[in-house]
């Protein structure tokens, strides 16, 4: 089955340069966690301002009310526009707000998505926003739909290295595209998969390698290194 028919959080965008590039959209759970982190920060700021303003009387409580108003509505706007689409909470969770074409979000769109929080919150605890996230393919709440924005994962770097001791090995039979990709991915990820699982996977390709168990796995890794371009 083609990947697009499966449930998938990958979002594809074609850029003006004529390439497709792909990012994973973030679902409700990481976004709720990010919101919690932001809420914690905001509460901390409220407490500090509250304590300080208690010493200044009327001026203080006026300032407190204005600051809470600004923080409540414009805290995310500030960070999204000036800090590359990441509030502190989103940064902690590795998320980022972008336009639907993956360009950085600007003032207008950010203000729309954050003013519409009032609608997403309705009637309580972001119930509407959650339902909207579940019904839309790219996990957009109402504010995202109106602003045309997305929350995506900021990809983390994970360098994959191959064991240099593996000797490259030319495959004895012609391989299909899927087989080539599978073998290369197995070789590259072998560091993060348990030995027995690797053998299990390698056994699926017994017709190609002609061997099973550890021998088959080693053969596959050799083929993988050869496909990557390792020289004998």
């Amino acid at each position: 089955m083609p990947a697009s028919k499966l449930i998938d959080n990958q979002v594809r965008v074609e850029t003006p340069e004529g390439i497709d590039f792909v990012q994973a959209a973030a679902g409700p759970v990481p976004r709720i966690l990010a919101y919690m982190v932001d809420l914690g920060w905001r509460c901390l700021v409220y407490m500090v301002i509250g304590i300080l303003s208690a010493f200044v009387g009327g001026l203080g409580s006026g300032a407190f009310l204005i600051l809470t108003f600004l923080l409540e509505w414009f805290y995310p706007v500030f960070f999204e526009v000036l800090r590359k689409g990441q509030t502190p909470g989103k940064k902690a969770l590795g998320l980022r707000v972008v336009n639907a074409d993956f360009t950085p979000i600007g003032w207008g769109a950010s203000i729309v998505r954050n003013l519409l929080r009032a609608a997403d919150f309705f009637p309580a605890f972001y119930a509407t926003g959650l339902i909207s996230m579940m019904l839309t393919g790219r996990f957009q709440r109402l504010g995202d739909l109106a602003a045309g924005s997305l929350v995506i994962y900021q990809e983390a770097e994970r360098p994959l290295t191959v064991d240099p001791q593996i000797k490259p090995l030319m495959p004895s039979v012609p391989l299909t595209r899927e087989e080539r990709q599978g073998i290369v991915d197995l070789t590259l990820r072998s560091g993060s998969i348990s030995e027995s699982r690797q053998e299990e996977l390698a056994n699926l390709l017994t017709p190609v390698t002609g061997e099973s168990g550890t021998a088959g796995l080693n053969r596959l890794k050799g083929i993988g290194v050869w496909l990557l371009g390792g020289k004998r």
Partner: protein, 323 residues
Amino acid sequence: MRERDFEQRYAEFWKAFESGLEAAGKSGQTPDKGFPEAYRQLCNHLAMARQRDYSEALVAYLNRLVMAGHHLLYQPESRVGIGRLAGALALFLTTLRRNRRFVICSALLFLLPALVMGVGTYHDESITYSLISPPQAAEMESMYDPANARIGPERDAETDLEMFGYYIQHNISIAFQSFAGGIFFGVGSVVVVLYNGLFLGAVSGHLTQAGFSETFYPFVIGHGAFELTAIVISGAAGMMLGYALISPGRLRRLEALRRAAAEAVKLMYGATFMLFIAAFLEAFWSSSTSLPVALKLSVGALLWIFVLWFCFFSSLGERREPE
């Protein structure tokens, strides 16, 4: 070309691109002249890597670089300055004129119920209590009782500042909610505008009937020019969202909503600005008792004329339309 050869050939270029990105990130976001060229080349590499079935790791690495480059190249103007704020105000005016029908609709939804309710409560006190609870009404009466030394919400001079904060938080939040409510097919906006109209009508009718007009009207007329207009405008902004969903024309509903929101938010810039002014006036001007009633009424009337002229008749918005 095998993956490793490809990697070896371009690794240096990619490293240079990456360090260029970092440098641009630090130094005020302006990449050097060669950047777009390098970015296009990188896109080319990503396309090749995909087409030749190179490993997922390499494709992911290039994808990440392209993403960072994409963000640097297509960043919107995010600086804030006086020029940008003036531009936002001009955008507000032109958008307001373009969407006159929504503003008129919202104004009628506000004024007609206010009139009906005002006349109703003036003639029959019991209608007041259908909307306002008796204790609430009693509180209103005590606030505007001419026998009081100070009109408006009772308070001393120091709490003027506190009330300024309160008006900002309370009034602007209502405006934002009435905008946000528009996404429920306009129902939220209509409800907020209607309710505020009814409430204003009930309070004015009730207080006039109680004989407090000489304290009530001088108090509300000044900031009302900004506040009521702004509530009507944010209601209109919400209705634009709702209308886009109900009647998207030849667009898909979501696309119509997105376009309407981009337009409506410009109205919110102006409405927010006006509500800040209203909060300032309400806290420091309207509540003052030392000023004669005639002065407050005439200044209030002038403010109304100014606001309506500025929003609908001034040539400010026509002269320049940025963006």
